[in-house]
Amino acid sequence: MKHLNLLILGGIVVILSIVFGIATIKVTGKYRFERSASEMLERVNTRSQYLGISKAKDLTQNDTVTFIDIRTPKEFDGYHIENAQNIPFDRLLDDEHIEFLKNDQMKVLYGSTSVGSNAAWMILTQYGYDNLYVLDGGVQDWISEVETKDIFRDAPVTDEAAKFKFTEVMNPETN
């Protein structure tokens, strides 16, 4: 019979370890992405997340839209779009912002360039949040476009626009 209680003890240990496993996985699995990479690729290809500076300009008056500045608090204090909220890039997934990011309000991410805010948009969207947009162009473009010249360009300032006529530049004759 001595072995019997050893067997039961073994059984209890196994059950405990499984419960422990379930408990730990709940904590560690917290940041698992909900959307698959291919789903994200389709969204990225539509380029629908980009918001031109002219459209964004009108939204600053609209209070149902919140601008999110992902730069550091110091840069944020230096200059930021009026009534924008500052969530630095590495704080985006913190618990305190979950409620805010979850609400169905329209939110526009912006940073010093559109690359950082675009990366933030990809992570948050793949993580499961919706109605997030990316300001096309960073704070420099906003300042030069909106604050100083006060003219509203329609064409987006996307950094993907080719600044050079690559082919001509390459031909030795025209150099």
Partner: protein, 204 residues
């Protein structure tokens, strides 16, 4: 109640639970949101145009340039030796051995940094390694390497030294030899052998 009966009861109960459990597709290799966030902030995946110029001039064998723009832009102009994987085809099966491998260092590039960093984020999230992004893309490549701007009179020796290096690189890339192999699309390199993920084991 001998041990056999007790054991059978325990095993059958666990077995019936196991029968209804869904098979968890835990690809441990995939990154979670916080890992990806941390890696992006470290910016270890960015390659500067100067670094790329050195790699190209030294004909670094481990380098693989991947142009993520569409095929039209690629045929008009692409960096020497670059292959074309348009972003919308990035996760196609045929490109898997190129973007999920450990033998070469891939550098994604496009006109700017947006498309290439999107490509990088998608591949990194799937756990693929050895992928990098050309910071500034072709625009910056042209601003710095092909047509470097003359540093001001107050420039430090470092800036002057860098300008000369860039000037030399510009000649290398725009000289007659450089221009000719530019538009001939290179033959697709051999498919790099993908490391078997499964652990070796057993007695074989």
């Amino acid at each position: 109640m001998n041990t056999r009966v007790i054991l059978s009861i325990i095993l059958i109960s666990f077995g019936s639970i196991a029968a209804i459990l869904p098979k968890q597709k835990t690809s441990s290799v995939q990154l979670d949101a916080d890992d990806l966030l941390r890696e992006i902030r470290l910016e270890t995946n960015l390659v500067s145009t100067d670094e790329l110029a050195d790699l190209l001039i030294n004909l670094d064998p481990g380098l693989m340039l991947i142009d993520v723009r569409d095929s039209v832009a690629y045929s008009k102009y692409h960096l020497p030796g670059a292959i074309n994987i348009p972003l919308n085809q990035l996760l196609d099966e045929k490109w898997m051995p190129y973007i999920d491998q450990v033998s070469k260092n891939n550098i994604f590039y496009s006109n700017g940094t947006t498309l290439s960093s999107e490509a990088w984020i998608l591949t990194r999230q799937l756990g693929f390694k050895n992928n990098y992004v050309l910071y500034g893309g072709l625009n910056r490549w042209f601003e710095t390497i092909i047509k470097p701007s003359q540093p001001g009179s107050m420039a430090t020796s470092v800036e002057i030294d860098r300008f000369n290096k860039r000037k030399a690189a510009s000649l290398y890339f725009t000289g007659s030899s450089g221009a000719s192999d530019m538009n001939s699309a290179p033959a697709l390199p051999p498919v790099p052998r993908k490391k078997k993920k499964r652990v070796a084991g057993g007695c074989s």
